[in-house]
């Protein structure tokens, strides 16, 4: 029997936070107002003492948690393998970075940490004893174009299963289930004057698994210009989509025992509470009928829209509706 809690990642308010119209406290208050039961924080974005959690900041967080009755539940880490200009970080250096993040997550009271795939499967296994000792479960984010079925994620799965640890696993991002093109990017292309025929051509080639090189060539021949290629770059990049997501949902069921946190990705929600490219009506029953216990946090990602608050609100409303709450 599943036990799904709804949260939001403060990353939804990236535009407002980075553009100085919302402070961290504003973001936390808004999360509570919208109906989140807990929030995720991207450490490199909003923790002033990053890569550490200072006692001063912890005091502020605790005060806000008490005042607004909402607490951080997931510490979102980055794996900055390329932070040095001269060479990649070594496996040992990346492990140390992740250990430090586990400690920070624990200090903030988070029981879950999002980690990125540059931390290798072997290093993730090495992190497990630290995760256990600090009681922070570390999940590798599965973000489009990765899916539970792609080779790198299969490698993690094998290592996680072999390790026997309950403290390492996955954080699936629902963007991986997309069955339609990213609406904000599509609309932006239209606004930039890209003919809809070009966009449809790109969409159809994506659905038919045409290679990026061939697609570029064909789009070029059809007269595509900069904005069309930018949209196509997304379609072959981080916002890929396919005819249906049956195989991906099957993959999700397989990794479900190792999932303890999920990202409810959204780019656009209509007034009648439908996500434009991600079939939530197909995804949510699979999770609701599983033994999943944990948060699904709303992750709105069309920062330039200026609509973050309304879209986040709609997403939470959609989730409640789909869960029959």
């Amino acid at each position: 029997m599943s036990d799904i809690k709804l949260g939001i990642t403060l990353y939804c308010f990236t535009n407002e936070y980075c553009g100085d119209s919302m402070t961290l406290e504003d973001c936390i208050r808004k999360a509570k107002e919208i109906g989140a039961e807990g929030y995720e924080i991207v450490a490199t974005q909003m923790i002033p003492s990053y890569p550490y959690v200072s006692d001063e900041f912890l005091g502020e967080i605790k005060a806000m948690s008490a005042y607004y009755d909402i607490a951080p539940i997931c510490y979102s880490a980055n794996m900055d393998r390329g932070m040095r200009g001269d060479r990649n970080l070594t496996e040992d250096e990346m492990l140390q970075m992740a250990i430090n993040d586990v400690k920070s997550a624990n200090k903030m009271g988070c029981k879950v940490m999002r980690e990125q795939f540059l931390l290798s499967p072997a290093a993730l296994v090495k992190l497990a004893p630290y995760a256990e000792a600090y009681d922070v479960r570390v999940g590798i984010e599965i973000h489009n174009p990765e899916t539970p079925n792609t080779p790198i994620m299969r490698d993690y799965l094998e290592k996680i299963q072999t390790s026997g640890s309950k403290y390492i696993g996955f954080v699936p991002d629902f963007g991986l289930f997309a069955t339609r093109p990213n609406k904000p990017m599509w609309d932006e292309a239209l606004r930039a004057g890209v003919p809809v025929s070009i966009l449809e051509m790109a969409r159809d080639m994506r659905l038919n698994d045409v290679s990026w090189d061939d697609a570029m060539k064909k789009l070029g021949e059809a007269g595509a210009t900069g904005p069309a290629f930018a949209t196509a770059q997304g379609m072959w990049g981080f916002v890929q989509f396919r005819e249906n997501c049956k195989a991906e949902l099957k993959g999700l069921q397989e990794i479900m025992p190792y999932c303890f946190h999920m990202h409810g990705k959204c780019h656009y929600l209509s007034e009648d509470l439908k996500e434009a490219s991600i079939p939530y009506n197909e995804i949510m029953p699979v999770i609701a009928e599983s033994d999943y216990k944990g948060y699904i946090v709303t992750e709105y990602e069309d920062h330039n829209s200026g609509n973050a608050v309304e879209m986040t609100r709609r997403h939470i409303a959609m989730m409640k509706k789909l869960l029959g709450r």
């Binding site: 936070y17 553009g19 100085d20």
Partner: protein, 143 residues
């Protein structure tokens, strides 16, 4: 550099931040503030290029200091700052050594700031280049 991603929520060159820098009661340069153009903070070591043109003239790299957290780094020292973290909502100060300072009035500040996103590999050793450049006319008040 060919393609570079641009993620921008705030002006790179900060309004009303231009001032002269003094030593021994004399103007020895000027300074202004800049913001990081991205959605999260970064260690300074991800900066690949920092250059400056003021009123159309290239400022020698040796005369540029990048200042953060009460510390000052030369352009050539930035690559080594693997533990100095520039927050996304935190202005950094650019100080320029120029004996005599800068004249009152309007100046065209053109900052070239290229960095890479260290968790977005585009090959085994290369990372997504990010355009963090900014340009603005700042006015130094008469006094």
């Amino acid at each position: 550099m060919a393609f570079a991603m641009r993620i921008n929520f705030v002006d790179v060159v900060c309004d009303n931040s231009l001032k002269n820098v003094f030593a021994n009661g004399k103007k020895v340069g000027y300074q202004f503030d800049i913001r990081l153009s991205y959605y999260r903070g970064h260690f300074l070591s991800v900066i690949d290029k920092l250059a400056l043109k003021v009123d159309g003239e290239e400022v020698p790299a040796d005369d540029i200091s990048f200042c953060l957290h009460g510390k000052e780094f030369g352009v050539s020292q930035l690559h080594d700052q693997v533990s100095e973290f520039w927050r996304i909502i935190e202005p950094a100060t650019i100080k320029v050594f120029k004996n005599g300072g800068i004249a009152a009035g309007e100046h065209d500040i053109d900052v070239t700031l290229m960095f890479h996103s260290p968790y977005m590999p585009i090959s085994d050793t290369d990372y997504m280049p990010i355009d963090g450049c900014g340009n603005k006319k700042l006015t130094l008040a008469e006094f």
